[in-house]
Assembly symmetry: C2
Homo-oligomer: 271 residues x 2
């Protein structure tokens, strides 16, 4: 099997959000030619096209180039589902990829002959650069020869590249929402509580860092500390009392405390 | 005001749990003589006494030395409340400290003449060494001269030392539970979900690290990404569906998603 030269593999980025921006820049840095950027929003399309030195950008689906080798659709799931027919029309011989954690590969079925998924699992914000080499990339491909190409491309971007089924990817995405989005929201709630008392959120950073570092060495269950796991009723009651004016946070506090406690009890019961 | 020489400041550790162990070792490394370790559990008392080269250890409150300069009580809140009278009896001229986030300093009132709090805010597990220099220490003292001593002692242990009221410390502790214990529990729930699918938790580490690093630069609210904040209904529904056999995690997913969404809406409304 002969693979095409990677640097002649022209790419169209369909979407210019956080993920498209970081992935596009990483591809560009590795020498992949970005042919075009599509976004509904002209400013986003232009800005990303400039950053990756794309030949052109477009805000209309009809304006999307028909001669690219690979189309990477990095859109909201709903948008991809709505647009996939229109996107692939007249372009179905190319390799079509989406980047979504929770959409199965088969959403391309009937739309294109060659298709797959390239899912970099990370939290991307435009304001912050990330080192793509440390981002795990999970790929899936309908055809084995496209799989080999995806493995090659992903390996140029990252040290951690895995072939993963749609079912596994969905599980990884759910776990990622817990470890990243929900975790970050707990930081946000803490920041809100501290702000009310004129205390700086920065005081939390050593603790946040150590909490993340710890699970490199210990399992999260072994790493657990604090009032919930040792069932320190007096601390728990004090905290619930403090949250009486914020019933939403109070409810979360109660549920998470119960959940920690239950998990610890189960462990005691088993061991 | 003349401060006593720090290395002649003999200390008794009352408690030998995670916090007592790490604080005791940090004090020992900085040259503070640890006179004695008390713990109900002989193995814990002996093990910590050996680690900090204490002259003795004891498992009975009557056996606690009466001639130390400082007693550091690192106990569960309930235990401290129960034992404080008995602990300080015949030792009330010494400086009595507790290390609890949520207990006010005044729990010592009537028990001792000189008292205060030394609260290192970190997650301590016995299996893992931590660098005390990066742990914020919050102290409080009844008498100004003891405050100066606490500032001196804490500054030998850490670069981040703050005088904080009981009310502020309580707020810091609550925020710490969110940023550390609850965050770690989300890691544990993710690990559980992944394990069911034979997927390694290690795949989450780059994401966990970046989530922690991000809030050094961006506010948690600005750092938020994922299906909840962009209100990607199709992903949210997929995830809720996947959690049908785990109603506890499903409920947490729903609450945290709603909370993220509400916070994002409020921001849109304000800006």
């Amino acid at each position: 099997m002969t693979l095409p030269s990677l640097t002649s593999t022209s790419i169209v980025l369909v979407g210019a959000g956080n993920l498209a921006t970081h992935l596009g820049k990483a591809l560009f840095r590795q020498g992949f030619p970005i042919l075009q950027v599509y976004s509904r929003t002209e400013a986003s399309a232009r800005s990303l096209a400039e950053a990756v030195e794309a030949s052109s950008y477009t805000t209309s689906i009809e304006g999307i180039a028909t001669d690219a080798a690979i189309y990477i659709a990095a859109l909201k799931d709903d948008a991809l589902m709505q647009l996939r027919q229109q996107l692939t029309e007249g372009r179905r011989k190319a390799l079509w990829l989406h980047t979504a954690g929770s959409l199965p590969m088969r959403v391309w079925e009937g739309c294109a002959d060659r298709y797959g998924v390239l899912y970099p699992m990370q939290t991307f914000s435009k304001q912050r650069e990330v080192d793509f080499r440390h981002i795990p990339i999970f790929w899936e491909s309908r055809l084995p020869e496209d799989g080999a190409l995806l493995q090659q491309i992903a390996s140029r971007l990252s040290q951690s590249v895995y072939e993963t089924s749609s079912e596994q990817r969905k599980q990884l995405h759910l776990a990622a929402v817990l470890c990243c989005n929900f975790t970050n929201h707990l930081y946000a709630l803490a920041a809100e509580l501290l702000q009310r008392q004129q205390l700086p959120f920065e005081a939390m950073l050593p603790l946040i860092d150590e909490t993340a570092r710890k699970v490199h060495e210990l399992s999260p269950q072994a790493a657990q500390t604090g009032p919930a796991v040792r069932y320190d009723r007096s601390v728990i009651d004090t905290h619930l009392q403090m949250l009486q004016q914020q019933p939403d946070i109070q409810q979360l506090y109660q549920l998470l405390t119960d959940s920690i406690h239950r998990k610890a009890e189960k462990k005691l019961f088993i061991s």
